[in-house]
C-alpha cells in the first residue's frame, strides 16, 4: 500500500474521529448540566439517582459501556436496530462524558458565592434569569480548565470506539498495520491525535483568554 493511500485512509478515519468528538461534546455538555441539577436537587430521590448514575459512569470502563450500549438493545430487549453502531458509540460517549461534566458543573456552580444569588434576587431577577445571566457565565469561566482536560481526554478516548469495530482513525490504523505488518500507520495515527489535541488546546486557550476580561 502506498503512503498516500494509507494517509488517505487514516484521514478518513480522522474525520470519523472528529465526528465522534464533536457529537459527544454537543450532547454531553448540556446533558451534564441537567445531571448536575439532579445531583444538586433538593429532592432526595432525584439526587440519589443522579449520584448513582455518576458513580457508575465514572466507576466502570468506558469500553465496557460502549459494548453494553451497543449490545443491550438486542440481548436485553430483543430489538434489532439497523445502523445502530455509530449511534451506540455517540450514546455511550455522551452518557459517560456527561457524568464527568456534571461533576465539573456542580463544583463550578457551588463555587459561586451565595451573595450573587441574593443580589440578583433583591434586584428582582427570577430563577431562570439569575441562572442564565448571573451564575452560568461565571461558572463557565471557572470550569474552562477542567473542561479542557476532559476534552483532551475525549480526543484520545474516541479510539475506544475500536471495540465496536467502527472505522474511526484508531481502528483504521490497526487494520492497516496488521495488513502491512508495519507500525508506521499506528505512529502516523499518533501524530494525528496529537495534532488534533494541539488544535483543541489552542482553541480552549483562546476561549479562556476571551473570558479574562474580568476576574
Amino acid at each position: 500500500m502506498s503512503t498516500t493511500v494509507m494517509l488517505a485512509q487514516l484521514l478518513k478515519g480522522m474525520v470519523v474521529t472528529a465526528e465522534i468528538f464533536f457529537l459527544t461534546l454537543i450532547f454531553s455538555l448540556p446533558l451534564g448540566l441537567f445531571i448536575s441539577f439532579g445531583r444538586m436537587s433538593k429532592n432526595s430521590i432525584v439526587k440519589g439517582i443522579s449520584k448513582i448514575y455518576i458513580s457508575i459512569m465514572r466507576g466502570t470502563p468506558l469500553m465496557l459501556q460502549l459494548i453494553v450500549v451497543y449490545f443491550a438493545p438486542f440481548y436485553v430487549f430483543g430489538l434489532k436496530i439497523s445502523n445502530y453502531r455509530f449511534p451506540a458509540i455517540i450514546i455511550a460517549f455522551a452518557l459517560n462524558y456527561a457524568a464527568y461534566f456534571a461533576e465539573i458543573y456542580r463544583a463550578g456552580i457551588e463555587s459561586i458565592p451565595v451573595g450573587q444569588y441574593e443580589a440578583a434576587r433583591v434586584l428582582g431577577y427570577n430563577k431562570v434569569q439569575t441562572f442564565c445571566r448571573i451564575i452560568l457565565p461565571q461558572v463557565i469561566k471557572r470550569i474552562l480548565p477542567p473542561v479542557t482536560n476532559e476534552t483532551i481526554t475525549l480526543v484520545k478516548d474516541t479510539s475506544l470506539a475500536f471495540v465496536l469495530a467502527h472505522a474511526e482513525m484508531f481502528t483504521m490504523a490497526k487494520q492497516i498495520a496488521a495488513k502491512e505488518t508495519s507500525i508506521v500507520p499506528l505512529m502516523v495515527a499518533g501524530v494525528f491525535y496529537y495534532l488534533f489535541n494541539l488544535i483543541v488546546a489552542w482553541g480552549m486557550e483562546r476561549l479562556e483568554k476571551a473570558m479574562n476580561y474580568y476576574r
Binding site: 458565592p113 451573595g115 450573587q116 441574593e118 443580589a119 440578583a120 434576587r121 433583591v122 434586584l123 428582582g124 431577577y125 434569569q129 445571566r133 448571573i134 457565565p137 461565571q138 469561566k141 476580561y213 474580568y214 476576574r215
Partner: protein, 256 residues
C-alpha cells in the same frame, strides 16, 4: 419630621428562628416615607437577620410584613404565609438592598451592572436605562467608571456602584447592611457621603451600621437591638442620652 407622611414599611411581631434559636423575637417597626432609620447593636443581635427578613431573603416564622399597605406576609392559623409570587414580585419593586460586600456582578461592566435589572426586570428600554444610569453615575462621582469592571475598582467605588445599581430600580426604600464595614477607613467617607446626599433628597433608608457618629448626625430615628429585640428606640438625642444601661454601655464603647 415626617410625622404625617405615609407608612412605607410596617413590620408586626416578626419572629425568626435558626435551628430552634430565636434570633428575632417579636419585633415591630414602622418606617415612614422620607425617614432615615439606623439600626445599631452588638454583633449577633439580629440586625442583619431583621434586614434579611424585611427584604425577604429569609422567610420569617411569624408576624406580618407590609409594604405600602400591601401584605407581603401575614399569619394564618398560627403560621406565617407569604403572598403569591406575582404579588411578591410587585412588592419587591418597593425596596433595594445594599450589601456589606457589594455583591456586584463581576462579569458585567459598571454600566451593565446598573442597567441590567431595569431592562430585564422592569422592562424599560436600554436607552432609557442608560440615561438613568448615567445620571446616577454622575451623582455618585463615577462617570468615568462606566466601562470599568468591578475588579478594577476600589472597595469604596464598588460600594457606590452597588448603591447606583439599587437606585436604578427607583426603590421607595433602601436598606443598607453595614455598607462600610468591608472598607478601609479612608474609603468609608466616600460611601457615607453618598448616603448623606441621599438623605438630603429624602430617600427613605434603613441602615444597619457601626458608624455611631454617622448614625447620630443622619438618622431621624435610631433603633438599638440586642438579643433579637428592640431594646431602645428614639431620636439620636434620646438614644445618645439614654438612661438605659445597655444602650449606654454599647455607645460608650464607641466613644473612647
Amino acid at each position: 419630621m415626617a410625622q404625617n407622611s405615609k407608612v412605607l414599611l410596617q413590620i408586626n411581631h416578626m419572629r425568626k428562628c435558626f435551628d430552634d434559636v430565636e434570633v428575632i423575637k417579636d419585633i415591630s417597626l414602622s418606617v415612614r416615607e422620607g425617614e432615615v432609620v439606623s439600626v445599631i447593636g452588638p454583633s449577633g443581635s439580629g440586625k442583619s437577620t431583621l434586614l434579611r427578613c424585611a427584604t425577604m431573603l429569609e422567610t420569617m416564622d411569624a408576624g406580618e410584613l407590609i409594604y405600602l399597605d400591601e401584605n407581603a406576609a401575614w399569619e394564618e392559623n398560627g403560621k406565617c404565609v407569604y403572598a403569591s409570587k406575582a404579588k411578591l414580585r410587585e412588592i419587591h419593586k418597593n425596596f433595594g438592598l445594599v450589601f456589606q460586600n457589594f455583591n456586584l456582578f463581576p462579569h458585567y461592566s459598571v454600566m451593565k451592572n446598573i442597567i441590567d435589572a431595569p431592562v430585564i426586570v422592569e422592562g424599560i428600554s436600554k436607552k432609557e436605562a442608560k440615561e438613568r444610569a448615567e445620571k446616577l453615575l454622575a451623582q455618585l462621582g463615577l462617570s468615568d467608571k462606566a466601562d470599568a469592571y468591578p475588579y478594577q475598582l476600589s472597595g469604596g467605588q464598588q460600594q457606590r456602584v452597588s448603591i447606583a445599581r439599587a437606585l436604578a430600580l427607583q426603590p421607595k426604600i433602601l436598606f443598607f447592611d453595614e455598607p462600610t464595614s468591608a472598607l478601609d477607613p479612608e474609603l468609608t467617607g466616600e460611601v457615607l457621603k453618598v448616603i448623606r446626599e441621599l438623605a438630603k433628597e429624602h430617600m427613605t433608608m434603613i441602615i444597619v451600621t457601626h458608624e455611631m457618629q454617622f448614625a447620630r448626625e443622619l438618622s431621624d430615628r435610631i433603633i438599638f437591638m440586642e438579643q433579637g429585640v428592640i431594646q431602645a428606640e428614639g431620636t439620636p438625642d434620646e438614644i445618645f442620652s439614654s438612661s438605659n444601661q445597655r444602650v449606654r454601655e454599647f455607645i460608650g464603647k464607641f466613644q473612647s
